[in-house]
């Protein structure tokens, strides 16, 4: 027990700093990823074969390959191309933080796209027909009926995806980012007490999992209130 307290006293601030970076990665990736997931889902459902096939290919690639390969592809891979190195974006694309974000956004959007697609397909047909019968255009039907309904249907599945995303951010430590896992790796090699250090990091991650689950329970209660209140 004494060992744990010593580690917390010595590295407490590093753990907090790492946790803060993890939170940033999760929140930014989740928001951008969700915004990208909606067009991905719509593209998957598109009548145009080319659009639908492109979206399926994207989704298959990011869901069928390890996140680690994707991170390395972006962080180490992009520099292979001269036009990338010469572009004005290169100073940004060289940053591990930016590369990690790009990968997490693309990855989570592929998974969330499937969730959103499932949500859109689960909207009762009658509601869509009713909207059309009221004279709404396709765009308006989507905006006012289908997407809000799909959103509330998706929420439970989406909370799992955000937890998976949070766990995935630990891989950012492989490209030198000092988020929670990165900080823990440093502390572990400095103290020669890996078990204690990683257990502390694990408890912080577990706490974040519980918090994410709680946030989504609140969101679900709010966005599904038209169902729960009716009962």
């Amino acid at each position: 027990m004494q060992v744990f307290l010593d580690i917390v006293r010595e590295y407490g601030f590093d753990f907090l700093e790492g946790t803060w970076l993890t939170v940033q990665l999760v929140v930014i990736s989740a928001i951008l990823g969700f915004l990208l997931a909606v067009p991905v889902a719509l593209a998957r459902l598109s009548d145009s074969r080319i659009v639908a096939a492109t979206a399926s290919g994207y989704s298959l690639f990011f869901r069928g390959t390890p996140l680690l390969v994707q991170i390395f592809l972006v962080y180490f891979g992009l520099g292979q191309f001269g036009f990338v190195r010469d572009s004005i974006l290169w100073p940004l694309l060289r940053e591990p933080f930016v590369c990690a974000l790009i990968t997490f956004v693309l990855n989570t959007a592929a998974y969330s796209g499937e969730i959103v697609r499932g949500g859109i397909l689960a909207v009762p047909r009658g509601e869509v027909e009713a909207a059309r019968a009221c004279g709404m255009s396709t765009a308006k039907t989507y905006r006012l009926v289908i997407l809000p309904r799909a959103f509330s249907i998706c929420l439970p599945a989406y909370s799992n995806e955000v937890i998976i995303l949070m766990k995935g951010t630990s891989l950012a430590s492989t490209i030198t980012l000092l988020e929670l896992t990165g900080m823990a790796r440093l502390a572990a090699s400095a103290t020669y007490q890996p078990i204690q250090v990683f257990v502390i990091a694990g408890l912080i991650y577990y706490l974040m999992t519980l918090i994410i689950a709680r946030i989504f329970r609140v969101l679900e209660a709010r966005y599904n209130r038209y169902i729960t209140d009716a009962r």
Binding site: V69, F81, F198
Partner: protein, 226 residues
């Protein structure tokens, strides 16, 4: 492209390690998942509570962190018992333990749900016919559990294959690490990580096909299932 052909044997060697680790993970993980599911369904609190605590915790923290604990923590433990340097934890063994623990944690939930899907009456009927507990499990519960559990287990397998890539970080000579070596010596990281990702994609696609076949086969006794 020439480089890819040149390094292909190296990559295939890595692919073999990746597949070996993934298959071993599933074998150990299935057994572990079944035991944990039984513990969760047991009437004894001292079996039930630790099983839930362990699996909930393992499912709530990053897979990568579990691997780091097992690999570096294993070395720490061994060094404290034995004189340092006698035995080292191999990346393969550490990876196997970590991934099997994760697989087992998730599989225990799949199995638990599957166990509960078999109606109690069938188990009672089995016992009434004089089946032993083992026979009831083997001939009545297991075939039905298997059918319900396959889709979930299939997803877990796909996850395990992808998680093996993490073990390259602690030094396993798998597909990921071999690709990294090829990427470094040829200075074509994009090419080689892309080749690695395509190989992973191929495993995913072949697995999808096999899982589909298994699902069909396991459901052959069900009415209305093609």
């Amino acid at each position: 492209m020439d480089n890819v052909v040149e390094y292909l044997p190296l990559l295939l060697q890595g692919l073999r390690t990746t597949l070996l680790l993934a298959v071993s993970t599933v074998v150990v993980g299935l057994a572990l998942g079944m035991l944990l599911a039984m513990a969760k369904l047991s009437d004894h609190g001292w079996l039930k509570r630790p099983a839930y605590a362990l699996t909930n915790f393992l499912r709530g923290i990053p897979e990568f962190l579990v691997l780091l604990v097992i690999y570096f923590g294993g070395t720490q433990v061994l060094n404290s018992i034995l004189p340092p340097g006698t035995i080292e934890v191999s990346p393969f063994v550490a990876g196997l333990i970590a991934l099997a623990l994760i697989f087992g944690s998730y599989a225990s939930e799949t199995f638990r749900a599957a166990f509960q899907s078999v109606p109690n009456g069938q188990i009672e009927a089995g016992r009434a016919y004089g089946f032993s507990a083992w026979k009831t499990f083997r001939y009545i519960q297991l075939p039905q559990i298997w059918r319900v559990a396959i889709p979930g287990l299939g997803n877990l397998w796909q996850g395990s294959v992808k998680d093996t890539a993490l073990v390259s970080v602690v030094g396993l000579d798998d597909l990921m690490r071999k690709s990294g070596q090829a990427a470094q010596s040829t200075r074509e990281p994009f090419t080689f990580y892309l080749v690695a990702s395509l190989m992973f994609l191929l495993i995913t696609l072949v697995s999808m096909w096999i899982i589909g076949r298994l699902e069909k086969r396991a459901s052959r006794g069900m009415a209305g299932v093609r």
